[in-house]
Amino acid sequence: MAASEQAKLMSNRQSSPAKNGGWQQDIYGALKRTGVEIIAYVPDAAHAAAIDAANEDPEMHAVSCTTEEEGIAICAGSHLGGKRAALLMQSSGVGNCINMLSLIRMCRFPLLVLVTMRGEWAEFNPWQSPMGLVVEKSLGLMGVQCFRAELASEVFTQLAAAAESAFAGDQACALILGQRLIGRKTWVE
């Protein structure tokens, strides 16, 4: 296929109508209601609403990290000091966290990570797939329990479950927000 035809094809790809549905806007409020006072993040488009809300809220510490493993250690330190933290990242960041997750496992720190998926559903960029396809396996190998949401109607039930297991149960938990839930990325406007 010629490059121009491919670009035309890509321009016809539409974002899923669910992309800007309520759940992305409501994640921040749900995190706050679970008592989270510190949000560490490496940006992803699907976390943009939560990141903006965290940065605008004077009661929230929003910590922008250069790499996701920093966020794992920040969550550990927050718990040592008695505050609840959450970490937001994209699927490609999971691999950056592997050794730092020993800290969580060795000390049985609670951990709440929200992972927005790439590389698993209607993915245009193949470079996202090697990490995206092993996110849950990788987290599982390091002792992180995964809760998955594929439909907007599941997001808040699964988030509440992950948060309770993390903060009441001292478990390491990740909420996996599926790529189908997030919708296709539009490559060419």
Binding site: H61, I72, A73, G77, L80, K83, N99, F109
Partner: protein, 199 residues
């Protein structure tokens, strides 16, 4: 490539850490894996010490999370040059977050001591004091003598952070004094001392 600054110039690591901790008052302490953990243990175990035995590159970030959650307490991270180099991006994260109660002290012997004294980047011209300064730390200094160390000790509970202090130490390897390796125990003990119950 031979070892540099074996003796003579620079400070003795155990003396440095003992002097820092004498002035800790109610500071919360996080140690980086390897010799800094042994140095802090040698100065005396404490309920508000959190010792890392792994998670290399994470000490300053554990300190950041702690500093944000305990804004009224000074948080003192004591780590080594190799450990901090692995988490160099974390200096940028601290520079942006700007917790005024966080002090990162790096015991710099310019080598990876735990693995056989290989020269580190800090011994090959990389200047972490300049990095911390460029990242927006409120203060960043290199300490090579007793007089400057005393100034740092005096500043521990008064200066406005985030502060980066790199302390030049000899490459000697004092006897290991091992802190507890049971992470759950150390975590619960640390939190208990702050008034938080276990689950």
């Amino acid at each position: 490539m031979g070892r540099i600054n074996v003796s003579g110039r620079y400070l003795n690591r155990r003396d440095v850490v003992a002097q820092l901790l004498e002035r800790r008052n109610d500071a919360l302490v996080v140690t980086g894996l390897g010799a800094p953990s042994y140095d802090v243990m040698a100065a005396g175990d404490h309920d508000n010490n959190f010792y890392l035995w792994g998670a290399m590159g994470g000490a300053a970030m554990v300190g950041l999370g702690l500093a944000l959650s305990q804004p009224d307490r000074t948080v003192l991270v004591i780590t080594g040059d190799g450990e901090q180099l692995m988490g160099m991006g974390g200096l940028a994260t601290i520079g942006v977050a700007k917790p005024d109660n966080l002090i990162i002290t790096v015991l710099n012997n310019e080598h990876y001591g735990e693995t056989g004294m290989q020269r580190s980047h800090a011994g090959r011209g990389v200047d972490l004091v300049a990095v911390a300064k460029a990242c927006g730390f409120a203060g960043s200094r290199r300490i090579k003598d007793e007089a400057k160390l005393k100034e740092l000790c005096a500043d521990l509970n008064e200066c406005a952070g985030p502060l980066y202090a790199e302390i030049m130490i000899k490459t000697d390897e004092p006897e290991r004094v091992l802190p507890p390796r049971d992470g759950v125990f150390v975590k619960n003990r640390f939190r208990h001392a702050l008034g938080f119950p276990p689950i």
